[in-house]
C-alpha cells in the first residue's frame, strides 16, 4: 500500500485530500445507485423511477465538476508529489469515468418507456444478473480507491470478463431472436443497447480499477488477457456512447 497514513506537515493539504476522497465516494455511490434504480425501473416498467434516474444524473454531473475544481486547485496550490500526485491525478480521472458510468445508467433509464414490452423477449432474463455484476465492479473499484487496494483493483479487472461474457451471450441470443422474429427487431435492438451500456459500465469500472492500481503502486496495471469479443461491425455500431 502506497500510503502509510502519516499526516502532512501542512494540515490543510490533508483536509483537501480527505474532502476529495469523500466526494469520490459520493459520486461512486450515486452512480452505483443510478444503475440499480435504472434496472429496477426496467424490470418493473416504472416510468417514475426511470425519470428520477435521469433527473438525478444532474447531481452526478455537478459532483464531477466540483471534484475537478478541487483537484485542480489542490494541484495548483499544494504542488503534490509522489503518491499524493498520483492520487490526485487518479481522482481527476476517476471522477470523469464515474460520471460516464452515470450517463450509461441514465441511458438505460431513458429506454424504459420505449421497451415496456420487451419482457417477452427471453434474453432479457439475463440482464438483472449482468447488471448486478457490473454494479459490483463499480462498487469494488471505488472501495479499492478508498482503501488504496491494488489487489482488489486487479480483481475488478479480472471480473470484468464475466460482464463481457454476459454481453456476448446476450448479443448472440438477441441476434438469433431477431432472425427468428423480424417483427421484434426494434425492441430487441433497444435491449441490445442496454446490454451494451452495462458492458461499457464494466469497462469503465475497469478503467477506475486501473487508475487505483496506478495510484497505489506507481506502476501501470499488468495487461489482462483480453477475452473473446464479438468484434463484428454490427457490435462496433452498437458502441452506443452515452451522452
Amino acid at each position: 500500500m502506497a500510503n502509510s497514513g502519516t499526516e502532512h506537515t501542512v494540515k490543510a493539504f490533508d483536509s483537501d485530500i480527505n474532502q476529495l476522497r469523500g466526494m469520490v465516494a459520493e459520486i461512486g455511490g450515486r452512480s452505483e445507485q443510478a444503475i440499480s434504480k435504472a434496472m429496477r425501473a426496467l424490470e418493473n416498467s416504472d416510468l417514475e423511477l426511470a425519470a428520477e434516474v435521469v433527473r438525478e444524473d444532474k447531481l452526478i454531473d455537478d459532483l464531477e465538476k466540483r471534484i475537478d475544481e478541487l483537484t485542480f486547485q489542490t494541484i495548483a496550490l499544494r504542488a503534490p508529489m509522489a503518491d499524493d500526485l498520483r492520487e490526485l491525478i487518479a481522482t481527476f480521472k476517476i471522477s470523469g469515468v464515474v460520471e460516464r458510468i452515470g450517463d450509461y445508467a441514465k441511458n438505460i433509464a431513458k429506454r424504459v418507456p420505449i421497451v415496456t414490452q420487451t419482457s417477452r423477449l427471453t434474453p432479457i432474463s439475463l440482464l438483472p444478473s449482468m447488471s448486478k455484476i457490473a454494479s459490483e465492479l463499480v462498487r469494488d473499484a471505488l472501495d479499492a480507491f478508498a482503501r488504496r487496494d491494488a489487489e482488489l483493483a486487479m480483481e475488478v479487472n479480472r471480473r470484468d470478463q464475466i460482464v463481457d461474457d454476459f454481453y456476448n451471450s446476450i448479443f448472440r441470443a438477441v441476434i438469433t431472436h431477431m432472425i427468428e422474429n423480424p417483427k421484434d427487431i426494434g425492441e430487441a435492438a433497444h435491449l441490445l443497447f442496454i446490454a451494451k451500456n452495462l458492458e461499457r459500465i464494466g469497462d469503465h469500472a475497469t478503467n477506475v480499477a486501473e487508475m487505483v492500481y496506478f495510484a497505489a503502486t506507481g506502476e501501470p496495471m499488468p495487461e489482462r488477457t483480453r477475452g473473446e469479443n464479438p468484434a463484428t461491425p454490427l457490435d462496433d455500431a452498437l458502441s452506443d456512447e452515452a451522452d
Binding site: 502532512h8 506537515t9 509522489a82 500526485l85 506502476e219
Partner: protein, 280 residues
C-alpha cells in the same frame, strides 16, 4: 537513536558499495565523478556516512534532503572545499575522470578549476565585471593575449545568459549588479576556466522567481557541457532542472535515481515522506 540505525541499513534499491553503481544502465553515460564509501567527520561528529554516488555529464544531479543532512558537506568534498575547515576529515575515495582527487599529487587549485562551485549567496569579487570573469583564466594561464581574454569573457557571459545585459558596462563593478545578475556572473566566472564539473549550493535561494527561472534555464543549457550538481531545498526546482535526484538523510544517501521516478514513485518511505511534505 532508532531512526538513525534504520537509516544506516543499506537500502535494497541502492547497491552502491564497492561495485560500479547502476547510474549508467545503457553504458552510454560514463560517470564524470565517482565517490565510494565516503565518510566525513567534523571532529567527533560524523556528517557523511559511507556514501557512494556517481555523477555524469549528461544529467543534472540534484541533492535534496532536510537541513543538516550533509548535502553541502558532501558537495564540498567534491572539490576539496572541506580542506579549508580544520576539523573536517574526509575518508573514502572520490575520483574525477578516474583521478583520485584526494591523492597527494593532486593540485587543489587545478582541481577547483576543473570542479567549479557556485554558492548560495552570489559572491562576485569587488572588481569589474570583466575582471570577475578574466581572473580565473589569467591565474590558470588559460589565455595569452588580450583578444583571447576578451573572447573568453564574452563567451562565458554568453553562456551564463548575461552578455546582453552587461556588454556595455563591462568595467562596472560586479557588485553593482542585481542579485540574479550577480549569480549569473558567478556562473560565468565558473564557466570561464572551462571546468568539467559545476557544483551549485542552493544557487537560487536568494533570488526572485524570474531570476530563478533564468538560472534554471541556464542550467538546462549548460547540461551536457559540464557535469552539474545542484543542492536545492526547492522540490519543484529539483524536479524542473535535474534528471537524477539524490535524497540525503542524516548523512546517508537514502535513494538515488531518475528524477521522474523519485518525484512520482519513490521507493523509500523516507524519500516519500520528505518530498510529499510529511517529514518531521
Amino acid at each position: 537513536m532508532n531512526e538513525d540505525q534504520k537509516m544506516q541499513e543499506p537500502s535494497e534499491s541502492l547497491d552502491m558499495t564497492d561495485s560500479a553503481p547502476t547510474n549508467t544502465p545503457d553504458g552510454t553515460d560514463a560517470p564524470k565523478m565517482t565517490a565510494r564509501n565516503v565518510d566525513v567527520f567534523y571532529g567527533e561528529k560524523q556528517a557523511i556516512k559511507n556514501l557512494s554516488i556517481d555523477v555524469s555529464m549528461d544529467n543534472v544531479t540534484a541533492f535534496i534532503g532536510p537541513s543538516g543532512c550533509g548535502k553541502s558537506t558532501f558537495l564540498r568534498c567534491m572539490n576539496r572545499m572541506n580542506d579549508t575547515i580544520p576539523i573536517a576529515r574526509v575518508t573514502g575515495e572520490i575520483r574525477l575522470e578516474g583521478d583520485d582527487i584526494y591523492a597527494p599529487q593532486m593540485d587543489v587549485v587545478q582541481l577547483r578549476a576543473r570542479v567549479g562551485m557556485v554558492f548560495q549567496k552570489p559572491n562576485p569579487f569587488p572588481k569589474s565585471i570583466y575582471d570577475n570573469i578574466a581572473y580565473g583564466p589569467r591565474i590558470h594561464g588559460l589565455s595569452t593575449s588580450k583578444d583571447e581574454l576578451d573572447h573568453i569573457v564574452e563567451s562565458s557571459l554568453q553562456r551564463a545568459g548575461l552578455w546582453g545585459e552587461v556588454k556595455d558596462r563591462l568595467q562596472d563593478s560586479g557588485t553593482a549588479l542585481s542579485g540574479g545578475q550577480q549569480q549569473r556572473l558567478c556562473i560565468a566566472r565558473a564557466v570561464a576556466v572551462d571546468p568539467e564539473v559545476i557544483l551549485m549550493d542552493e544557487p537560487c535561494s536568494a533570488l526572485d522567481p524570474i531570476a530563478t527561472a533564468k538560472i534554471e534555464e541556464l542550467i538546462d543549457e549548460l547540461r551536457g557541457k559540464y557535469a552539474i550538481v545542484i543542492v536545492t531545498h526547492n522540490m519543484q526546482q529539483a524536479a524542473r532542472v535535474s534528471q537524477k535526484t539524490a535524497f540525503f538523510h542524516l548523512g546517508t544517501l537514502v535513494e538515488y535515481g531518475d528524477t521522474t521516478d523519485i518525484f512520482t514513485n519513490p521507493r523509500e518511505e523516507k524519500t516519500r515522506d520528505y518530498i510529499t511534505g510529511r517529514y518531521g
